[in-house]
């Protein structure tokens, strides 16, 4: 049997967001993989240039639904650096606390998605059930489950009370208990290990060559963690280990993530036990003085880099966002090639891809014709045929994909 080109995406059950992987198959083996992204472009970087810093804050927060706090903190830190603001200690502790809780919820979410990709739905359901604890905690502290909007330029918007500290500690105890169990599962369950071990290998030298970050890099033994290397917020005062693993495969990434959860609990306890009293916010100017700065932030998925250039007005001159997934994306083809088709979803999932973060720049809508119409089934069909014809594709001429490749 010859080679088959199989499209995974833009719409596919294994993918939670639109992106496209063209997989060239030889039997069940992947001969080549090609990544296409850009389906989610929203023009955020350009949009930031025509909005004030306060408006940008919320726009940046909505780059991603899972690591919203990461992006917002990274952006605000950059702005604060340009403006020369140093935020109160209590505010930086609260920022760090929300950041760590977000990491917990993101890693638990990842564990569930990974379980689902390899057909282990029970693990999926359990880890998402446990994720509800941390979601409830986040909702209690900030008001909402996803976009916390807790940051503001010069500090934070929400305080944390003594009762809330107790609630968080209680939830962390439960979660720690559960996480220990997941670590056991990751080390012991045979079917899980046989699906994860040796899959999507990415050794240390390739990690460095392709610039992968986050758990993907740490699973290959690269001790790279911005929280330790380039400390921000309250991390300089915290004691924690940078988890690394030497498996360099999907199993390694799983182990790194579940063990990182334990480190996060440790950090959360330290934060709550030593949170200083004091004000929450320093007054920030509306107009940020001219300057530029670049900040790094260890998001759950890896290193997040924001660059801001200001020009003395209340709007930034340029905002640049480098989301962690973009750094890891270059490694995807390497990891997929030579593997099995069955492993494609879990390998893609193992970098914890977030394509909303990655695709964010330009979107053009039809400003002139604001008309909306509702198309029925046949109308939609006609529209799609017309659209493809305009692109130069005649649907009736398309035969199967087979045989046309190489």
């Amino acid at each position: 049997m010859g080679k088959i080109l199989i499209p995974i995406g833009p719409q596919h059950p294994a993918l939670k967001e639109p992106e496209s992987f063209n997989i060239l198959l030889e039997g069940e083996r992947v001969a080549a993989a090609n990544v296409t992204i850009g389906y989610n472009h929203r023009g955020i970087e350009k949009a930031c240039e025509s909005r004030t810093y306060i408006q940008d804050m919320y726009l940046i927060e909505r780059i991603c639904g899972i690591c919203s706090h990461s992006h917002s903190t990274c952006f605000i830190q950059t702005v604060e650096e340009i403006a020369g603001l140093s935020i109160p200690k209590r505010a930086s502790f609260i920022r760090t606390l929300i950041g760590e809780l977000e990491r917990v919820h993101s890693h638990l979410l990842w564990l569930g998605v990974a379980g689902h990709e390899i057909g282990f739905d029970t693990l999926f359901m359990y880890s998402w059930r446990d994720r509800e604890f941390v979601m409830d905690i986040l909702a209690m502290l900030t008001g909402n489950r996803v976009n916390y909007s807790v940051n503001t330029i010069g500090g934070v918007r929400r305080d944390i009370s003594a009762d809330q500290i107790q609630e968080v500690l209680k939830a962390v105890d439960i979660l720690e208990n559960r996480t220990e169990y997941y670590i056991q599962v990751a080390y012991e369950e045979t079917t899980l290990i046989s699906r994860l071990a040796g899959v999507g290998r990415l050794p240390e030298d390739v990690v460095m060559r392709l610039g992968a970050t986050g758990p993907v890099a740490r699973a290959a033994g690269v001790k790279k963690d911005v929280r330790r290397d380039d400390p921000y917020a309250a991390y300089a005062d915290m004691e924690f280990n940078v988890i690394t693993d030497d498996h360099a495969d999907v199993l390694g990434r799983t182990i790194v993530r579940v063990k990182e959860l334990m480190e996060s609990y440790k950090i959360i306890r330290q934060l709550l036990n030593s949170i200083p009293d004091g004000p929450l916010i320093v007054k920030a100017p509306r107009k940020i003085p001219a300057g530029e700065a670049v900040t790094r932030y260890e998001a759950p998925r890896g290193e997040d880099v924001h660059y801001v250039k200001s020009n003395g007005t209340d709007m930034p001159e340029r905002v640049k966002v480098r989301a962690p997934t973009l750094a890891n994306l270059a490694a995807i083809s390497y990891m997929l090639e030579g593997g099995y088709l069955a492993d494609v979803p879990i390998v893609i999932a193992a970098i914890d891809p977030c394509f909303s973060c990655t695709d964010r720049m330009i979107k053009v809508s039809n400003m002139n014709s604001g008309e909306e119409s509702i198309l029925d089934w046949n109308g939609l069909r006609d529209y799609s045929i017309k659209w493809y014809r305009e692109q130069g594709i005649e649907l009736n001429n398309i035969k199967t994909f087979r045989g046309e490749v190489r």
């Binding site: 350009k46 650096e81 790279k224 290397d229 700065a293 670049v294 270059a330 053009v364």
Partner: protein, 154 residues
């Protein structure tokens, strides 16, 4: 506090004498260097191999009026970030690819091509990224003179 940064700057200026005075330590763990275009690949290669800036974090492209400015954010394992700035004129926005030094830079450079109209020499011509396939030629959204209504859906 900034000994390591200073020694890195010293090492860099020893190798490239013309960089004297162009390296600024903006703050702890941040070094900013204005690199001339003709020696750029040498500098970035030296930084990557000898100074151990093993990671390319991002490439920022800026529209600076007459010129395009590119900032290569490099990082080493100690958390120090080296921001290499490269300025080219808009009339001839040609830069060389750094994919030989940093293999993973391909997406960053394609972004520069699509959004700012940089001509990256040595980058294989592929599909548009991140803009859609039917994007008109010569429209570079991140340039300051570009307005969203310049492009209309057909």
């Amino acid at each position: 506090m900034i000994d390591m940064e200073e020694s890195l700057v010293k090492e860099l200026t020893k190798k490239f004498v013309f960089l004297e005075g162009k390296c600024i330590i903006t703050r702890e763990r941040r070094i900013s260097v204005e690199a001339p275009k003709k020696a750029f690949l040498d500098i970035i290669g030296y930084a990557a191999s000898k100074l151990k800036f093993e990671q390319l974090c991002a490439i920022t492209g800026l529209d600076a009026g007459e010129n395009l400015e590119f900032i290569y954010h490099l990082a080493n394992r100690e958390g120090i970030m080296l921001n290499l700035k490269l300025t080219v004129s808009k009339a001839n926005p040609e830069i060389n690819t750094v994919t030989a030094v940093y293999n993973g830079a391909i997406f960053y450079e394609r972004e520069l091509e699509d959004l700012l109209g940089a001509k990256v020499a040595g980058l294989p011509r592929e599909k548009h990224y991140p803009l859609p396939e039917n994007w008109p030629e010569g429209q570079y959204p991140l340039r300051k003179d570009w307005k969203p209504d310049a492009v209309q859906q057909k």
